[in-house]
C-alpha cells in the first residue's frame, strides 16, 4: 500500500486543532496584519473615491470609446469572477471527488470566491453607466407595459448566472461556517463574543441527527455548485462568443474560459495561502507544503490547458479560412497590442512550466512569484480578448485604440483594495480553516489512521 502523507502535521489532539485554528481570532492583531489592513483599507477608500468620480462624471473618464466599447470594467469583471472559480472548485468539485486535502484550504478558498464575486459584481453594474438604474436588469413588473428584459441576450444570462453564483457560494460558505461558529461561541470568554458568534451559529448543537442532515445538505450544495461554477464562466464567455466579432465568435470559448478561470483562481489561492502561512504560523501544520504542491500541480495542468487553447484558437483561425478571423489573431500576436499578447503567453504558458520540477513546486518563494505572474497573465488574457478583438474589426475605417486613462488604473488597482480589505477582515473574524472538517481527517497518514 502507498503510504499517504499526513494531512495535518504534529499528531494533534482535537483540542489543539480548535485552539490552533481559532488562535488568530482570539488574540490582538499583529503589526503585520494591521499594516496590511490599513494599506488595503486606504486603497479601498481610494477605490470608492475613484468610483464616485467615474459614476458622477460618466464612463467617458475611462478609455472606452468607439470602437473599443468594453474596457477595464469588463476585463476586470471577468478577471475577478474567474478568480472566484478556484474556490468553488476546491470546495465543491474536490469534495465530490473525495479529495481529503481540500479540507484545510476549502474555507479560505471559498472566502476568496465570495469576495472575488463581490468585487467582480460591481463592475458590470458600474459599466452600465447609470448604476442607479441597475434594477432594470431584473425582470420585474413595471408600469412601462410591462416591458420585460430581453431573455435572448447573453448579458442577461450573465445577470442570472452571476447573481445565482454569488448567492449560492455565499450560502455554501456560510453553511460550512455554522458548526465552527458554534465552536467559537462555546469558547467565548466575554459576552459580546458569545452573543455575536452564537447568533452567527444559529444555535447549532451538533447532534447526530443534525450532522446527518448537515452532511447531506453539504453534499447537495457541492453537487449543485459544480455545474453552477461551470455554467457561470461558460455564460461569461457567451457574452463574447455569442457576438459576431472576429476573435470572439468561437465555440472554444466556454471550456477555454473555465480552464482559465480555474488557473487564475488557483494562482490567487496560492498567493493568498503563502501569505496566510507567513501571517499565521500555526496554520503551517494544516496548510502544508504538500497542499501547496498539489495546488501548484493544478496550476500547471490548467496552465497547459490554457496554453493548448491559445494554440488551438490560432490554428482554427488559420484553418477556418476566414480572412477576418485570421487577421484578428495575427493582429493579436503582431499588431499594436502584441506586447499584451506576449505578456499573456509568458505569464500563463511559459512561467508555470517551472512547476515540472518538484523543487520549485515545493518552494514557497518560487510559487509566490509564479502565482503573481499567473494573476498578471490572466488579467492580460482578458485584456487581449476584449481589447484586441474590438480595436480592429472588419473595416479599417472602423479601427482605433483603447485610450487607457488614469481612471482605468485607479479602478483596476482600487478593486484589489476592496478584495484585500474583505479578505483581511475575514482572516481575523472567521475561522480560516474548517475546524469541523479538519478533525475527521486528522488521522490520515498516521499509524492506525483509518480510511
Amino acid at each position: 500500500m502507498i503510504k499517504r502523507n499526513q494531512l495535518v502535521l504534529g499528531n494533534k489532539s482535537l483540542k489543539q486543532i480548535t485552539e490552533d485554528i481559532v488562535a488568530p481570532l482570539e488574540r490582538l492583531p499583529s503589526k503585520g496584519w494591521l499594516g496590511m489592513f490599513l494599506s488595503a483599507k486606504a486603497l479601498f477608500l481610494f477605490y470608492i473615491i475613484a468610483i464616485a468620480i467615474v459614476v458622477s462624471t460618466g464612463m467617458g473618464l475611462l478609455g472606452v470609446n468607439h470602437p473599443v466599447g468594453w474596457g477595464t470594467m469588463i476585463i476586470t469583471f471577468v478577471f475577478w469572477i474567474g478568480i472566484g472559480h478556484a474556490g468553488t472548485l476546491i470546495s465543491a468539485v474536490l469534495f465530490l471527488f473525495r479529495q481529503k486535502w481540500r479540507t484545510s484550504v476549502a474555507r479560505t478558498a471559498e472566502a476568496m470566491t465570495v469576495f472575488a464575486v463581490m468585487t467582480a459584481g460591481l463592475f458590470p453594474l458600474m459599466h452600465t453607466g447609470r448604476p442607479w438604474l441597475d434594477f432594470w436588469l431584473f425582470p420585474y413588473p413595471n408600469q412601462r407595459g410591462p416591458l420585460w428584459v430581453n431573455f435572448r441576450s447573453p448579458l442577461l444570462w450573465d445577470v442570472f448566472a452571476v447573481s445565482t453564483y454569488a448567492t449560492v457560494s455565499m450560502v455554501f460558505w456560510y453553511i460550512g461556517l455554522v458548526p465552527d461558529f458554534a465552536t467559537i461561541r462555546d469558547r467565548a470568554k466575554n459576552n459580546i463574543r458569545r452573543i455575536v458568534y452564537g447568533a452567527l451559529s444559529l444555535g447549532w448543537r451538533g447532534t447526530a441527527k443534525n450532522w446527518s442532515h448537515y452532511e447531506m445538505l453539504y453534499l447537495l450544495l457541492a453537487g449543485l455548485s459544480t455545474p453552477l461554477v461551470l455554467s457561470v464562466h461558460t455564460i461569461v464567455s457567451f457574452d463574447f462568443a455569442v457576438s459576431n466579432l472576429p476573435g470572439w465568435h468561437t465555440t472554444i470559448f466556454p471550456p477555454y474560459f473555465v480552464a482559465g478561470a480555474i488557473f487564475s483562481g488557483f494562482g490567487m489561492v496560492v498567493t493568498l495561502m503563502t501569505l496566510v502561512r507567513i501571517g499565521f504560523p500555526e496554520f503551517k501544520d494544516y496548510v502544508t507544503i504538500d497542499h501547496m504542491e498539489v495546488m501548484n500541480k493544478i496550476i500547471m495542468t490548467t496552465g497547459l490547458m490554457v496554453g493548448y487553447a491559445y494554440g488551438s484558437e490560432f490554428f482554427i483561425a488559420w484553418y477556418s479560412g476566414n480572412a477576418y478571423e485570421r487577421y484578428a489573431f495575427i493582429n493579436r500576436a503582431m499588431g499594436p497590442y502584441a506586447w499584451s499578447y506576449w505578456i499573456m503567453i509568458s505569464c500563463n504558458v511559459i512561467i508555470p512550466q517551472l512547476f515540472w520540477f518538484r523543487k520549485f513546486r515545493r518552494s514557497i518563494p518560487v510559487m509566490f512569484v509564479v502565482s503573481i505572474f499567473v494573476n498578471i497573465g490572466m488579467w492580460f488574457e482578458r485584456f487581449v480578448i476584449t481589447v484586441t478583438s474590438l480595436h480592429r474589426d472588419f473595416m479599417p475605417s472602423n479601427w482605433g485604440m483603447y485610450a487607457w486613462s488614469r481612471y482605468d488604473t485607479a479602478i483596476l488597482v482600487g478593486s484589489f483594495g476592496m478584495f484585500l480589505t474583505l479578505f483581511l477582515l475575514y482572516l481575523r473574524l472567521f475561522p480560516a480553516i474548517s475546524i469541523a472538517e479538519v478533525k475527521p481527517v486528522k488521522n490520515v497518514g498516521y499509524e492506525g489512521g483509518h480510511h
Binding site: 410591462p146 444570462w157 445565482t164 465552536t183 447568533a199 451538533g206 447532534t207 469541523a436 478533525k439
Partner: protein
C-alpha cells in the same frame, strides 16, 4: 420558542467510545436520545439508527419548480405578455432560455435545501442550553431526555459509567 428537555447526559472523550455508547443506548431501548459531537462521525448514523436525510426530496422538488418556473417566466414574458421581435428570432426561443432555466433550477434547489436544513435542525435556535462547552471542540456526549422509554436516572448513570463516560450529569438540552 422551543422548549428544552431535561434528562441525563454522559460525556465521553473519544470517538470510539461515543459510537459504542450510542449502540448500547439504543440497545437499552431508548429512542429519543441525542448523540452530540464536534464533527460528523463516520458510522454514527448506523449506531443511532438515523434514517437517510429527506432533504434531497426537497432539493429535487425545488429544482423542478426552478426549472419550470424559469421556463414559464421566459415564455410568458417573451412570447405572451409583450412579445417583441428581436433580430427575427422566434418569440419562444427555447435555446436562449435554457441558461435562465438552468440558473433558476440551481438557485431554487440550493436555497430550498438550506431552508430544509433549517427546518430539520430547528434552526435558528436562540441561546440553546449547552451540556458542556467542549462538545463543539473535543468531547462527545449522549443525552437521554426524561420522557424516553424506561428513563431511570440511576440505571442510565450506571450504564454511562460502564461505557467509560468521564462525566455523568443531569442536563437541560
Amino acid at each position: 420558542m422551543a422548549s428544552w428537555k431535561y434528562g441525563m447526559a454522559g460525556i465521553f472523550e473519544t470517538e470510539e467510545s461515543i459510537i459504542k455508547a450510542a449502540y448500547k443506548t439504543r440497545e437499552m431501548g431508548f429512542k429519543n436520545f441525542e448523540a452530540i459531537s464536534p464533527y460528523p462521525i463516520h458510522g454514527m448514523e448506523e449506531a443511532c439508527a438515523i434514517k437517510r436525510s429527506w432533504i434531497p426530496y426537497v432539493t429535487f422538488g425545488a429544482a423542478l419548480v426552478g426549472l419550470f418556473g424559469g421556463l414559464a417566466l421566459t415564455y410568458w414574458t417573451s412570447a405572451v405578455d409583450w412579445a417583441i421581435n428581436v433580430g427575427g428570432k422566434p418569440f419562444f426561443s427555447l435555446p436562449a432560455f435554457i441558461p435562465i432555466m438552468f440558473e433558476l433550477t440551481i438557485l431554487f434547489a440550493a436555497l430550498s435545501s438550506v431552508g430544509a436544513l433549517f427546518y430539520a435542525c430547528g434552526m435558528p435556535k436562540i441561546d440553546p442550553p449547552i451540556i458542556d462547552k467542549d462538545l463543539t471542540c473535543s468531547k462527545f456526549a449522549i443525552f437521554i431526555p426524561n420522557d424516553d422509554n424506561g428513563y431511570d436516572e440511576s440505571k442510565i448513570s450506571e450504564m454511562f459509567r460502564a461505557l467509560g463516560a468521564s462525566e455523568v450529569k443531569k442536563a437541560e438540552f
